[in-house]
């Protein structure tokens, strides 16, 4: 009776056992590259103070707008702050926002999706609301919410989460609606398994793999939105060095000191690329049917 839920785990597992690490790398190169790159970024964010950085906020007007050199790897900005240190510390903001939003949006999506999947009455109302919210581009929802609150990282996370919950909800609801009609759930029901046990043992495990894949793409989207919000002046407060903030500060100087914008931009792109590779790989590993197509 528990065949179907464990199916997905079984499909991914043999790769680990057969042939060890090398076979796994050969089979899922994108997971390994993505996870490796993302791991490096996380380590960089965690150990920012030990990576040859100085205080990212330290002003030094005499040394402003220095080009990248052996002393200032990424140069200095118009206030003489070290762009290398600011970029390394900026990883903390992006990763915190990306991971928090992915966890929160998936959590809320799971909860709301499970409820709406089982209750026709709430489904009608909640899904209308979600459809409406989904037709507002996420960055505009975030901008609208940020314009009403004070700039803080917490508010940025909340604003982007609100924009990302509808898609996760839709995903979970869709899976629940399909699953509850499947024979193994019917069989469990017929053999007297209680509602919550069916939910816990049969429905929930099947929603997790797609939710995990979706979560990785939400994290990537959240990082881009955070950077865009900060770039537009509606995101992380300027006293915290985030990649979007650094780019916003370098904007007016781009023609004389383009390095201020390009370094954080490159780190942002690399991090998003890492997460997308990981997400693609996870999808291929967890859903072989889809993998063949995409």
């Amino acid at each position: 009776m528990t065949v179907a839920p464990t199916d997905l785990a079984l499909l991914a597992a043999p790769a680990l056992r057969k042939g060890g690490v090398q076979a796994y790398i050969r089979r899922h190169p994108t997971i390994v590259i993505g996870a490796g790159l993302l791991g490096l970024m996380v380590l960089m964010a965690l150990f920012a103070p030990y990576l040859g950085t100085v205080d990212p906020q330290a002003l030094s007007p005499i040394r402003r707008l220095r080009w990248p050199s052996a002393q200032y790897w990424f140069g200095t900005d118009m206030l003489g702050r070290d762009v290398y240190s600011r970029t390394i510390y900026g990883a903390r903001v992006s990763l915190t926002v990306g991971i928090s939003v992915a966890l929160l949006a998936s959590g809320f999506g799971l909860a709301i999706g499970l409820v709406t999947g089982f209750s026709r009455w709430t489904d009608a109302i909640v899904m209308r609301i979600m459809d409406g919210l989904m037709s507002i581009p996420s960055i505009l929802i975030a901008i609208a919410l940020m314009a009403l609150t004070r700039a803080s990282m917490q508010n940025v996370i909340i604003a982007i989460t609100v924009a990302e919950v509808p898609r996760a909800t839709r995903l979970v609801r869709g899976i629940v609606l399909t699953l509850r009609e499947l024979p193994f759930v019917e069989a469990a029901h017929a053999s007297g398994t209680g509602f919550f046990r069916i939910l816990w043992r049969h429905i929930l495990p099947n929603t997790l793999p797609p939710l995990l894949v979706n979560g990785s793409f939400v994290a990537a989207a959240a990082m881009i939105i955070e950077a865009a919000l900060s770039f537009l002046g509606a995101g992380t407060p300027p006293n915290i060095p985030s990649w979007g903030n650094i780019m916003a500060e370098g904007r007016s100087l781009f023609q004389v000191a383009y390095y201020i914008v390009l370094f954080p931009g490159a780190f942002l792109s690399l991090t998003v690329l890492a997460i997308n590779l990981l997400g693609d790989g996870l999808r291929d590993a967890l859903d072989p049917r889809l993998a063949r197509r995409m």
Binding site: I129, P137, I139, L145, A228, Y258, L273
Partner: protein, 320 residues
């Protein structure tokens, strides 16, 4: 014959009616934004340096001193008459401010759509036709990278390559097509490329996936067996049948395009709706932000309505 047409007609009417609840939710969201915020919205909009008089003036201007239901009814009533309220900063009607800024944004959106669709569909078709080859790999690498580089990062990269190192294109600005085709094209090229990459990446990927499905069908083998040229098989038989998912992804990812417009216009100093949004954020001019959300969401709903209606042409087999 008659019955078929009725079916399609009924579908079109139903699909148009289905946009109403969506827009009602959007309107409710936009309205309730001001009231959901913690604290006094008038005080937040007025900013830290506002006096009590300023706050009272803003409260009165936004109608926040009225009971909630009256506020809502008045707001919807005005909305239905095309009145999006008055800008706090400039005292001009929001609808007028938006109308002034529509041209650059629409132009940029259309040129981006043309460039990315024209580039992405052939890429996807080629990748699927030569699945597993180096062309396929190249297209897939392009798709993953294109999906990962945010439009404003790419925008600066393009400016660096085409405007700073080589001086081929102007750094920023917008020229209407009425003021000459050449200056128009040279100004719109970089923003369209920057904005179009992510869009093209998605379309190329979906085209490849959809084509792979179709190319595995029996009728493709039949078409090849009866001696049709590759072009005829790929375009006439395969692409035609792969069109519905491609149209869908174009509609759904239109939201990405709108998000990108706001940021790209800022980078290239294009005086469009995106620029208006950013100015409104900086001045906390809330009626403008509300108006822009309504306009952009309506555009998104409209595009997806058109995509859904296009199914009736793209795949006449679909019965409703």
């Amino acid at each position: 014959m008659d019955r078929v047409n009725w079916g399609v007609f009924a579908y079109i009417v139903r699909r148009i009616l289905a946009t109403i609840p969506v827009m009602v939710v959007v309107a409710l969201f936009v309205f309730s934004l001001l009231h959901l915020s913690p604290g006094d919205p008038a005080a937040i909009i007025a900013g830290d340096t506002a006096t009590l008089d300023d706050i009272a003036r803003i409260r009165q201007k936004l109608g926040l001193d009225q009971p909630l239901y009256i506020q809502f009814v008045t707001w919807v009533w005005h909305l239905l008459h095309g009145d999006l309220g008055i800008s706090i900063f400039t005292n001009l009607p929001v609808s007028k401010l938006i109308a002034q800024r529509v041209e650059p944004t629409v132009t940029l959106t259309i040129s981006t759509l043309i460039i990315s669709i024209a580039a992405a569909i052939p890429m996807g078709v080629l990748a699927a036709w030569r699945a597993g080859s180096w062309i396929d790999r190249l297209v897939m690498v392009f798709a993953v990278i294109g999906f990962s580089v945010p439009s404003f990062v790419l925008a600066y990269l393009l400016i660096y390559v085409f405007a700073i190192s080589t001086d081929l294109l102007p750094v920023q600005g917008f020229v209407s097509i009425r003021d000459g085709v050449r200056p128009f094209l040279s100004h719109i090229a970089m923003p369209s490329l920057a904005l179009g990459l992510i869009f093209a990446a998605l379309i190329a990927r979906m085209t490849r996936a959809s084509m792979l499905d179709v190319l595995a069908q029996d009728y493709i083998r039949t078409a090849q067996a009866k001696g049709l040229s590759n072009d005829r098989v790929l375009i006439g038989h395969a692409l035609k049948n792969a069109a519905v998912p491609i149209a869908t992804i174009i509609g759904v990812s239109f939201a990405l395009l709108i998000s990108g417009v706001v940021v790209t216009e800022t980078v290239f100093a294009i005086p469009g709706l995106g620029r208006l949004t950013v100015d409104a954020i900086l001045r906390r001019d809330y009626p403008i932000i509300q108006g822009i959300i309504l306009v952009f969401s309506a555009a998104y709903v409209l595009v997806n309505l058109l995509v859904d209606l296009s199914y009736t042409f793209l795949d006449p087999r679909i019965r409703y």
